[in-house]
């Protein structure tokens, strides 16, 4: 497995995300597997931001650990990232901007002093152009062919060709040629193979999957790290016929989505934890009125405003418990872009089939990281059934008819003769309130219970039709990882590292974290030699859910809540510890 990790860092406003994405895209166009992380702070200018692009000829599921190449636009980037550079690595920098003494480089790491400012000045006095020679030099060292780099750079300027694009292309080429003369391609750089892959963020995959699943309406309020769901959908709104509404707040966003769904179109909203907290009451309204709605909850490190640009899986308890009273829901938890696409499709299918709210638990790491996807993994031919399932039967139509599955025939406004009122109050089969003059009267007391039973028994069907837990890796293993959501990625990488050490491990992960088939989950866990629960939160929220649902307590765990995503090595270290101790 040939693998290289490139990091580029500087201050917010330096254009790090742009050149980082260019490197990631170049790798992707070479047919390599890529995982790109965009690490930034809640500031628009200044501070320290960096982008990490990991590329390999094998699948990569996380950002990896450390780096092989570092392009440092400022001294802070060197100070922060130098300790993580592996032997054989190179630091690209410009001594005209800041000096690095020979003895400051980590062992086995060398510097390549590229005259980025000098090259840039040949074209313009604008300081932003200094990125281009550095990008060129770094690309050479990373084994990216010059034509791939220049094509990517050219594409990034789109139709805005002109002086700026030409300056960048020229300066990048000079940087590339400088590195070719004064350095050498990193020995672990993978070479091009196969056709170009698709490169997308989790949020883009959610938006694409939603559109493919027939979503026609998205209402959302800006909040990192969910905003780019709306950005993608808004950019494509006219082309794909999706109404995108930036609402006045999250209360409006979810209520609009529920209204649109009641009106007959597949609808969604996306937000982060703080916004989701505001949506909670309406989520219950969707449950009570049995109106399908899809909510992407891209978690960030909490509590409260927390760390807006950092990751965590700390909102599971909220997603599980959101809403007063009890109503059925499903929570899906994809771990990468391909799964995110599929989760979006599944969410709409489940929401409509069971007339329930469906949550997709994402987080900063999944929502904003760039991941390669094979074209074959994105099937745009999603079957979308007709909604006209109810024949008019005049007076006898019961929108909330008691049925064995709990699902009642749904009518849409505009359909003749099926008028009903969707009530957030408890109601009878026709939707008539039983909250006022009927409540507490024996026959209605019984009906209230029947209505609750009707709604709640949908969960049986949801369990049967949602994606079950998946056991990945060898059946015979020393240890079974238990994980959900974006954390699954780093675990997959850790398993490969362990396998290279001759340690067989496998992974039980949960595309659907709720509802769970308790017997099946218990059986899977009981088969494990030993388990290691890995979650990005303080209290092991998923472990608690598993314990509540199955009675099984996963004693060994690795919890992380520093805002950073898991790296494979810390999981490997903890797994070895558990295996050695466990006997």
């Amino acid at each position: 497995m040939a693998e290289i990790v490139v990091r580029l860092g500087g201050q917010a406003g330096d254009g790090i995300a742009s050149i980082g994405e260019l490197v990631a895209r170049s790798f992707s166009r070479m047919g390599l597997h890529v995982f790109g992380v965009n690490a930034y702070q809640s500031v628009i200018r200044g501070g320290h931001v960096w982008f990490g692009a990991r590329a390999s000829d094998q699948r990569v599921y996380s950002q990896g650990d450390g780096s092989d190449l570092l392009f440092a636009l400022d001294r802070q980037t060197f100070d922060v990232h130098a300790p993580g550079i592996r032997p054989g690595g190179t630091v690209v920098y410009d001594a005209e901007k800041f000096a690095i003494a020979e003895n400051e480089f980590p062992v086995g790491v060398r510097g390549l002093n590229v005259p980025t400012l000098q090259i840039a000045r040949k074209y313009t006095s604008a300081s932003i152009l200094q990125n281009a020679p550095g990008l060129g030099a770094t690309s050479f060292l990373a084994g990216i062919p010059l034509d791939v780099l220049l094509q990517g750079l050219s594409d990034s300027f789109g139709k805005k060709a002109g002086d700026v694009a030409n300056w960048n292309l020229g300066a990048a080429r000079e940087g590339y040629e400088f590195a070719a003369k004064n350095g050498s391609v990193h020995p672990s750089a993978p070479t091009a193979r196969g056709p170009s892959k698709l490169l997308m963020t989790g949020n883009q995959a959610f938006a694409l999957g939603a559109a493919a699943a027939g979503c026609k309406f998205l209402a959302q309020y800006p909040m990192t790290p969910a905003s780019s769901v709306m950005h993608w959908m808004a950019a494509h709104s006219h082309d794909i016929g999706v109404v995108v509404k930036q609402a006045e707040d999250e209360l409006a966003a979810i209520n609009m989505a529920i209204g649109a769904s009641f009106g007959g179109v597949r609808s969604m909203t996306a937000t982060s934890g703080g916004g989701f907290a505001l949506m909670v009451e309406a989520l219950g309204m969707a449950g009570m009125t049995e109106t399908p709605v899809v909510v992407v909850e891209a978690q960030r490190a909490g509590p409260s405003t927390g760390l807006p640009t950092k990751t965590e899986q700390g909102d599971l308890n909220m997603m599980l418990g959101a809403g007063q009273g009890e109503f059925p829901r499903a929570i899906l938890a994809p771990s990468n872009a391909a799964e995110a696409y599929r989760a979006a499709v599944r969410a709409f299918e489940l929401a409509e089939a069971w007339q329930i709210p469906v949550l997709i638990a994402s987080d900063f790491h999944l929502s904003e990281s760039l991941m390669t996807v094979d074209r074959e993994e994105i099937d745009l031919n999603v079957p979308i059934p007709s909604l006209e399932t109810v024949a008019p039967n005049g007076h006898d139509y019961k929108r909330y008819q008691l049925t064995p599955s709990g699902v009642s025939p749904r009518a849409l406004p505009g359909q003749v003769g099926l008028q009903f009122v969707a009530g957030s109050d408890e109601h009878d089969e026709k939707g008539h309130l039983i909250s006022d003059i009927h409540s507490g009267i024996p026959v209605w007391v019984t009906l209230r219970q029947e209505m609750m039973d009707k709604r709640m028994r949908k969960l049986h069907g949801v369990v049967a039709s949602a994606d079950p837990p998946i056991l990945e890796g060898p059946t015979a293993s020393e240890l079974t990882f238990v994980a959900w959501g974006s954390t699954v990625g780093a675990v997959r990488d850790a398993m490969r590292l362990l396998a290279a050490q001759g340690r067989a491990t496998n992974l039980l992960w949960f595309p659907t974290v709720y509802p769970l088939d308790a017997d099946r989950v218990r059986a899977a866990i009981e088969k494990a030699t030993r388990t290691l629960l890995v979650e990005a939160n303080y209290s092991g929220q998923f472990g608690r859910l598993l314990r509540a649902e199955t009675g099984v307590h996963l004693a060994e765990h690795l919890f992380k809540y520093d805002g950073e995503p898991f790296g494979p090595h810390e999981i490997v270290a903890r797994a070895l510890e558990v295996m050695h101790r466990g006997g």
């Binding site: 979503c215 309406f217 966003a253 529920i258 979308i384 059934p385 006209e388």
Partner: protein
């Protein structure tokens, strides 16, 4: 307009004249003499007069005594949660702008917990009609002060009297860009029916605030209180196309209180300006990305 490529999921309705909105078998649970009876009568009367088929009408409400209204009429209804009448109604309009959408609720629902949505729905000029049954008190929760309660009024939560200035819904609507701003009185169902019908016909956001006395918990703003004070704008030579005049009338309070149409203007609606809706109601449009593989090229 490229749009999606799949087939529509719901066909448009065509056919002969269909029943208009009438009463349902559900009897209002309001207190005898409640102002809201006049409002439901006016909404029913307006829909009948305009002969809009009942299956093409959705009445959306929130929480409070007044918000039970959708249950009493034979249209589609959505009886949601407190304060969220307008976002639900907007979502329904955008899903299917072939529908007549009417929001109903109270002063607490619309001007207290839902105030944020009120101003935004008006500035975006969504084509729906919003009727508030403004009784200047919280009735269903048994008599607390509301955003429109009178300064000094004693309620359960203000035993020494309200010390907040009441919100002026008419002035707020004018400031927020509503394109049809009216005030009715449930003691005058005939005029109120005209105002609601005018609102439904109006192309844009129509706001009808209704003095709808709570006969149980508001002993100050009673039917008699209003009967002694209200006068009709249309009889007073008010020009409803004059925004400055509308502002002046909205400030009148005390011995003489105007009811009628304050202001009306034409402005493109949100639905007019949302290009995706130019292809027809969203619910009747094609869905999905079948055959749209080219869209993946941007990710290369």
């Amino acid at each position: 307009m490229a749009g999606s490529t799949g087939t529509p999921r719901v066909a448009a309705t065509t056919g002969p004249a269909l029943p208009v909105v009438g009463k349902t078998e559900i009897r209002p649970t309001w207190c005898p003499g409640c102002g809201d009876f006049g409002v439901v009568a006016a909404v029913e009367g307006a829909l009948k007069r305009l002969a809009i088929p009942s299956h093409n009408v959705v009445i959306v409400s929130g929480i409070g005594c007044s918000s039970n209204l959708p249950h009493f009429l034979s249209s589609y209804g959505f009886h949601g949660i407190h304060g969220r009448v307008l976002p639900v109604a907007e979502g329904i309009r955008w899903a299917n702008h072939g529908l007549t959408v009417i929001g109903t609720g109270g002063d607490g629902d619309g001007f207290g917990i839902g105030a944020g949505h009120f101003v935004h729905a008006m500035r975006r000029n969504v084509d729906l009609t919003y009727v508030t049954m403004d009784n200047q008190i919280y009735g269903l929760t048994t008599g607390q002060a509301s955003p429109t309660s009178t300064m000094g009024q004693k309620t359960k939560t203000t035993p020494e009297g309200v010390i907040e200035n009441p919100l002026d819904p008419i002035a707020l609507a004018l400031a927020s860009g509503a394109t049809y701003v009216a005030r009715g009185f449930s003691g005058d169902v005939k005029q109120l029916t005209d105002l609601v019908a005018g609102g439904i016909q109006h192309h844009g956001f129509s706001f009808v605030d209704v003095f709808s006395p709570c006969v149980t918990y508001n002993k100050l703003n009673t039917f008699d209180f209003f009967r002694q004070r209200v006068y009709k704008l249309e009889s007073a030579g008010h020009d409803p196309t004059n925004l400055v005049a509308a502002w002046q009338r909205s400030l009148e309070w005390g011995d003489k209180i105007p009811i009628g149409l304050f202001y009306r203007t034409e402005r493109p609606t949100y639905e007019d300006l949302e290009e995706v809706l130019a292809a027809g109601p969203l619910v009747h449009q094609a869905t999905g990305l079948r055959g749209r593989e080219k869209i993946l090229d941007e990710f290369v």
